[in-house]
């Protein structure tokens, strides 16, 4: 690990100001992904700004009947919150499907959104990777792609976003609240928060340099039966091959987002009216233009079957 200096930020304005002063600084909260990457020198910050003392650790009701989740709320606490379990079940289910008990105790809401891909070529400094080292090429394109993206990828990158939580937030139309280095707040719809790799796979999100996530807000509850179904190579503590976050209403209408298939949580709203016609109709539309590789072509059929299982679970 490279040496770095360390400071505890006392308030949000001071945190973003400290970040603006130090070009190679990074915020640290739970640290479960950042420190892992720092040990491998994939991330090499010269300064860490610890934001754990900023007080963004509450879950509060909003004026319009939704919830405002502080950026520092731990995954365990978010999954266990009674309002989340009752009104946003898909989020609680997605959270407990991810990582391990130890990691969920430390990992934060904002950090979960910002975690980096687990593509094996990104993690191996001996391999080319445009996300880790722009311009070095993509080892995954001709390599082992079992875990990797089937849609939304580019000739530069076929990494997937590893989060379960973000898939549920996408289906719930969450928004990400931020503070930029000039001290200005803004709100980013989750649909616009994660980006596709294109020719700049080194950039995961639409956050500006030094911009700090302060909260994630959920709109008022949408009801329905809320299901999160995750398929992986072992029964627990593994990243998704395919996951499905679904909200199914009594009349058969609903919403669905997929995890483990793209550089961002994958939701195609135009495919959702097909839910009444069954899983295949939805997947045909949601994955139109998919470019699977030899090792991951199975994900298209798996997505259809996982959605079918989720819809059956919702109807049961």
């Amino acid at each position: 690990m490279r040496a770095f200096s360390y400071e505890r930020a006392r308030d949000p304005q001071a945190a973003v100001a400290a970040m603006a002063r130090t070009p190679d600084a990074k915020f640290i909260a739970g640290g479960t992904n950042l420190l892992d990457l720092m040990k491998l020198e994939i991330e090499r910050p010269g300064r860490l700004i610890d934001v754990n003392g900023l007080g963004f650790d509450k879950i509060e009701a909003t004026a319009d009947g939704g919830l405002r989740i502080g950026a520092l709320v731990r995954n365990t606490d978010l999954a266990a919150d009674e309002r989340v379990r009752r009104d946003y079940g898909v989020l609680s289910r997605a959270l407990v499907a991810g990582a391990s008990g130890q990691l969920r105790n430390k990992a934060t809401t904002a950090g979960n959104l910002l975690q980096r891909t687990r593509c094996p070529y990104f993690y191996d400094p001996g391999q080319p990777c445009n996300k880790r080292q722009p311009g070095s090429g993509c080892g995954a394109l001709q390599g082992f792609s079992r875990q990797l993206a089937v849609i939304g990828g580019s000739e530069a990158c076929i990494a997937t976003h590893p989060s379960d939580m973000a898939v549920a937030m996408r289906v719930l139309d969450a928004s990400v609240e931020t503070l930029n280095p000039e001290g200005k707040a803004r709100r980013i719809p989750i649909a616009e928060f994660h980006r596709l790799p294109g020719d700049k796979p080194q950039i995961d999100t639409t956050l500006g340099r030094g911009e700090l996530i302060t909260a994630v807000t959920l709109p008022r509850p949408i009801g329905g039966v809320q299901v999160y179904r995750k398929v992986r190579d072992r029964a627990s503590y593994a990243f998704a091959l395919v996951s499905v976050a679904a909200v199914v209403q009594r009349d058969g209408s609903g919403r669905v987002a997929f995890g483990g298939v793209a550089h961002k949580p994958w939701r195609v709203e135009a495919a959702e009216p097909a839910m009444a016609s069954g899983a295949k109709a939805v997947v045909d539309r949601a994955f139109a233009g998919a470019k699977p590789r030899h090792d991951n072509a199975f994900k298209l059929l798996l997505a259809e079957r996982t959605l079918a299982a989720a819809m059956a679970e919702a109807r049961a």
């Binding site: 040496a3 360390y6 860490l48 365990t76 008990g101 191996d124 400094p125 390599g143 627990s236």
Partner: protein, 210 residues
């Protein structure tokens, strides 16, 4: 067969490339340190470990695990993967189990840390330690301190109503079942495969508490 064969060759290739890359990278890091570009930064931190206040001055890079083992000689917590994948380093911080390898010591100012040494000692074992002995919940023992710290915290989490992936209904209060324990203990890997005895040990302690 053919695909499996290719996979094996390629894995070896990856290992060789990886080893060569780190062999080249190592001298450049020490050169940078000698030049002062990557000089260690020291910071002070004070926290409570197993009921005793400890004050340390550490390289900021020191993980909580390394501080416990190397600075405080509490070598019960083990370093397995050092990347949060195996759970051997699990300790209880402010009442919650975490991977001590994936957190910096300097981030725990004022924290309360419990390691395996703080749970119990020979002659005065914690009930979970005694149950692991009774049920043969280990073979080589390397993962055991992490397993036991995790198990103690798991029972607290179930009592507090924290949901898990094993529960069909996230709104229901979780119960101590072997499915629940298996799911909740999935962050602790045991290469000897003592899992079924570990579940028996935890189940007995849970029954004693109920």
């Amino acid at each position: 067969m053919d695909a499996a064969h290719k996979l094996e060759i390629s894995r070896r290739g990856v290992l060789i490339v990886g080893a060569a890359a780190s062999a080249v990278a190592a001298p450049s890091v020490s050169e940078a340190q000698a030049a002062g570009a990557d000089a260690p930064v020291l910071a002070k931190v004070a926290f409570e470990v197993n009921g005793t206040r400890r004050e340390l001055e550490l390289d900021t890079r020191t993980t909580l695990l390394d501080a416990l083992r190397e600075n405080l000689n509490l070598t019960g917590s083990k370093k397995g993967c050092d990347h949060g994948q195996c759970g051997a380093c699990t300790v209880i911080v402010d009442g919650r189990r975490i991977n001590s390898c994936l957190t910096l010591a300097v981030m725990h100012e004022g924290g309360r840390i419990t390691t395996i040494e703080g749970l119990g000692q020979p002659g005065a074992l914690h009930p979970m330690q005694a149950a692991f002995v009774k049920h043969d919940g280990f073979q080589c023992g390397y993962c055991t301190p992490g397993q036991i710290c995790s198990a103690v915290a798991v029972l607290d989490e179930i009592k507090a109503g924290v949901p898990s992936h094993a529960g069909a209904d996230v709104t229901a209060a979780p119960q101590v079942t072997s499915d629940e324990l298996r799911e909740r203990m999935s962050g602790n890997i045991c290469r000897c495969g003592a899992y079924s005895n570990i579940i028996e040990a935890i189940t007995e302690v849970a029954g004693g508490n109920a």
